[in-house]
């Protein structure tokens, strides 16, 4: 073989991965900034949900001497305003979008490149987050002015919060990706996703702070990954958790990310087998 047809020498694995992530984050920011108007409308529409919950629970709190299960109106406000940030931060490449990816032929291209497919999504949505945080700040200021949240986090809580929102991001990516594999077998996955999302809503702390749920629900939530994608990050900032619980929570996120990843690997292998058997 002539020297010209020999393959090019490789750069180090970690160096390349680092380059990939920084490049992807950069391109995601550049791309998403072009859509900031659409982004804003989407975020504005999204705050309707927590505002409604907030208003309802504050009303109840006021009717019952200021607090429900020990949570005051001000604390509800804090919970649901932080909710808006966490909600935006745990947006990942959702399960339904796998159908688009398969149908548009992008999956074939991704399969032909020597990179684990999760890296594309993790990197892209991570970059997107930076745009989101920027857009979120005025919304947070506006909501705080209206609803007067009661929020005094300690330095440790802020640090844990910042780590926890990324932990939530990883956990959610793994599980959404796993569920997304269903698209390799059916185009009608929408119904199952809705079921999954409804379960997530109820058991993650998205609908209400988990403390307000009946005891058996709270126990159930402890054994499922949902709580660590939503409720835990929020409460790490607003609920005055002990240092021990904060650190245990972070550990739980690591554990659930690992579990989710293992599940994904199994599901992915089966999905690719099917894809390679029946074609796009």
């Amino acid at each position: 073989m002539s020297a010209q047809t020999a393959p090019l020498t490789e750069e180090g694995r970690f160096r390349s991965l680092f380059d990939f992530y920084t490049t992807m984050v950069r391109t995601a920011i550049a791309a998403q900034l072009q859509y900031r108007v659409a982004q804003y409308f989407y975020m504005l529409g999204m705050i309707a949900e927590p505002v409604i919950y907030l208003v309802v629970w504050s009303t109840i709190a006021r009717q019952h001497g200021g607090a429900v299960n020990g949570i005051t109106a001000g604390q509800f406000a804090a919970y649901y305003i932080v909710w808006t940030l966490v909600r935006n931060m745990n947006i990942v490449f959702g399960a339904p979008f796998w159908e688009w990816r398969i149908r548009e032929g992008r999956l074939a291209g991704d399969l032909l490149r020597p990179l684990n497919i999760l890296h594309y999504d993790l990197a892209f949505f991570a970059g997107w987050k930076f745009v989101v945080v920027g857009l979120w700040i005025p919304i947070a200021i506006g909501l705080s002015a209206v609803f007067h949240p009661d929020l005094h986090p300690s330095a440790l809580e802020i640090v844990v919060f910042i780590v926890a929102i990324w932990g939530a991001y990883f956990v959610r990516t793994m599980f959404q990706a796993t569920i997304g594999m269903l698209n390799f077998w059916t185009t009608r996955g929408a119904a199952i996703f809705d079921l999954y999302m409804a379960t997530e809503m109820l058991l993650s702390g998205r609908l209400v702070p988990l403390r307000l749920m009946p005891g058996w629900v709270q126990t159930l939530a402890d054994f499922l990954p949902f709580k660590w994608t939503f409720g835990f990050p929020i409460e790490s900032l607003v609920a005055n958790m002990s240092t021990r619980s904060l650190l245990l929570g972070l550990g739980a996120q690591v554990m659930w990310t690992a579990i989710g990843y293992v599940l994904f690997r199994f599901a992915w292998r089966a999905a690719i087998k099917r894809f390679s058997a029946v074609g796009a």
Binding site: V37, F41, A48, E49, T59, R188, A191, D194, L195, L212
Partner: protein, 261 residues
Amino acid sequence: MNTLRVGWLYFRIGVLNELQYRVNFFVQLLQALIQVGTGLVMLSLVYSHTTELNGWQESELLTLLGVQILLGGFIHTFIQPNMELLMQDVQQGTLDYALTKPEDSQVLVSVRQVRIWQVVEVISGVILLFIGLSGVQGSIGPLDALAFVFALGIGAVLVYCFWLILTTGAFWVVRMEHVLELFEGIYQTGRWPVGVYPGWLRYSVTFLVPVAFAVTVPAEALTSRLHWPTLLLALGFAALLFAFTRWFWRFGLRHYSGASA
């Protein structure tokens, strides 16, 4: 009236088309169940911590939820598909097909499409409504029932006008779809009595995005809270809005035809 006949014809075709996709029925059923389920969970949670919310008992709020889902189903069946198609037509320049037909263009773009399987949502709303009513103290007189149907009709008109006005905006601001995406989120405010919302929000969901009128007024009729002035206000508002919608649509059309390449 010819308008009614045209509407009926389109409805029939739309239904026949949709009926082919039987799987959609099961998907819709599941989605309706999920929606009802989560609504009920929220309600029971709220009432596990209180006995009444803004003066509304649990069954009364269940009735409100039923009305909201019922009307939501109506929107998803009849209104939303047409408005989405209209938006698409304006963006892609294919509106001309609709405009060159001899029927009144507003009627046409409003009845062209129907997502018949969403009717499942309407039915689930009605069921919830009856379950709620069965727990409400005091019976429903024929006058209340009449007021309810009337108020529901007004609500439907209000929502229709709102959607059409916004979609007509697409003649000028082509990327209107983002604004429409907000609707689903804001429509959720209809699940709760309008009195819980702070002042500015209350006015917004009454006049700006007429969710409160559309959902709360019929529910008030069923739970014997409706005051005549409110109903008259709703009627007046609807009439005004309808007139404005029609004018705005014509105005938008003139602009569209003038600027058409």
